[in-house]
Symmetry: C2
Subunit: 294 residues, 2 copies
């Protein structure tokens, strides 16, 4: 089976061809311009490659309510050209299966796709409940419970969870929605937040202990609440900021301290882990979305 995968991001589009074993045969990256420029390029690439199904992990917010007339549309987004764009419908109209049938399309958020990638092929493949947290330009959280991606009224927006700002931290956060009276995780702990607070990009702050102490502190608060609310069987932390690998032991220690033995937990090194798929969880999750749609 030839599965198409699209990781649709605000700055780039990654297209790939793979199979149900999570093997990727081919991929390209295109810059994200307006839909009328970018979409025909993507369609052309997939059309010549004869796919049996397509999986899309998409920047959000997106409409995932299958009963809604706007299912498969991108909702309000700062990327104005994409606002309201019917991305699933576009592909449905433009691409057929090799034998001329309607193309099965799986569709979810970029972080839910990444979570599915890790849950299927990576660091959470042995458990049925996991969360994937990406800490980068933003903070996003994908959630799987009993092998199902979490959707509710909307998809989770758990990167915007309110957390308590440290007394000594005078930076109220980069998120324009959640800055006062409380700041959110993305506002305080994303890559741009680190840069705005410390005046340097995260990768240039590797030796500054205070930076990572504070970062671990905020992420531990968030993990504590994800654990208390969702009770995942594994937590995977990825994204650009987590390339600072000294964060892992600090986050583990602080999270367990905050939970304070209230609930039984596995050994921290087995519970809070780095990705198993490098930077490929998003595209492999899209492969799996295609596989499930087929």
């Amino acid at each position: 089976m030839r599965l198409g995968a699209l990781e649709a991001g605000g700055t780039k589009m990654v297209c790939a061809i793979g199979n149900e074993k999570g093997q990727i045969f081919e991929r390209i990256t295109l810059p994200t311009k307006a839909p009328d420029i970018t979409m025909p390029e993507i369609v052309e690439w997939f059309r010549t490659r004869e796919i049996n199904a397509l999986g899309i992990g998409c920047f959000g917010p997106i409409n995932l309510e299958t009963s809604s007339p706007s299912y498969g549309h991108i909702m309000t987004t700062p990327k104005v050209f994409w606002q309201g764009f019917d991305i699933v419908g576009y592909f449905k109209r433009a691409i057929k299966t090799p034998d001329g049938h309607r193309l099965p399309i799986g569709f979810d958020t970029d972080v839910n796709a990444a979570c599915l990638g890790e849950a299927t092929f990576g660091a959470a493949k042995d458990v049925d409940s996991s969360i994937y947290i990406t800490v980068g330009t933003g903070v996003g959280v994908g959630i799987i419970t009993k092998n199902q991606l979490h959707h509710g009224m909307l998809h989770p927006e758990a990167g915007h969870m309110l957390i308590e700002r440290e007394k000594d931290d005078n930076y109220t956060g980069i998120c324009s929605y959640h800055r006062t009276p409380y700041s959110c995780l993305e506002g305080l702990a994303s890559g741009p937040a680190i840069e705005a607070r410390w005046g340097e990009r995260p990768e240039n702050l590797a030796g500054n202990h205070n930076v990572w102490e504070l970062e671990a502190h905020y992420l531990a608060q968030a993990l504590t609440n994800y654990i208390l609310i969702l009770s995942p069987k594994r937590i995977i932390l990825g994204g650009g900021v987590m390339k600072q690998s000294s964060l892992y032991p600090m986050i583990r220690e602080k999270t367990y301290e905050l939970l304070n033995n209230y609930i039984p937990l596995p050994p921290a090194e087995e519970y809070i882990v780095p990705p198993g798929l490098g930077d490929d969880q998003g595209i492999l999750g899209a492969i799996q979305l295609a596989c499930l749609a087929n």
Copy 2:
């Protein structure tokens, strides 16, 4: 079909007989003593009433992992006589169906049962994702997503979510696990927390605006995070503290302020609501657990 329901609490046991329409024909309340005293009384009551299935909503933490040898056991609890007690196994051994078969038993936490009750017969029966929050002696949260009760590594313990203590609030909370550096919702906002902070039981503080302003503030923080993480389609607030009905409009207003239009929301009066079943969501949820087990 005659369905048995047990709401197993730390101070009392409510037993009832009902049917799949949510009608209750008969009920009794027994005090919770040690298992060797209380369990035979409960068994005797159900045995003479010829039930086809039993549903149990139980104080926790409890083991809900069906593949575990300890499935159906109560875990560590301050109620020492009940620690490790195999409550599901006890009923399985003691009660058969009228035609002599193995009794189907549904088992979940008290708050998950209450959430199921409201989702089946009450204030959330028209949606597939909802949460039920009880604010009383403790704070508990039941979660239903796509018609499934939420279980992970354990069940949710979302009443212990860490929240930010108000600057003017010198009370660090009643929860011995989560008091420093951060306090949890149950620690700051449960009935006993209100009494400890203000020196009066909640029902004697009805006219004190500051009490309810602060209470609404804490609950709004919690709701904001539940919405961002779980994205329920309805939020039901019940329990003894919520008898102070002036809390509802305050909580709605503060929650929407904190979310700050980050995600589209229904009108607040339709989204954050009182129970539809009075105080019967727990026992009716246990009825539904029996129905689903059958």
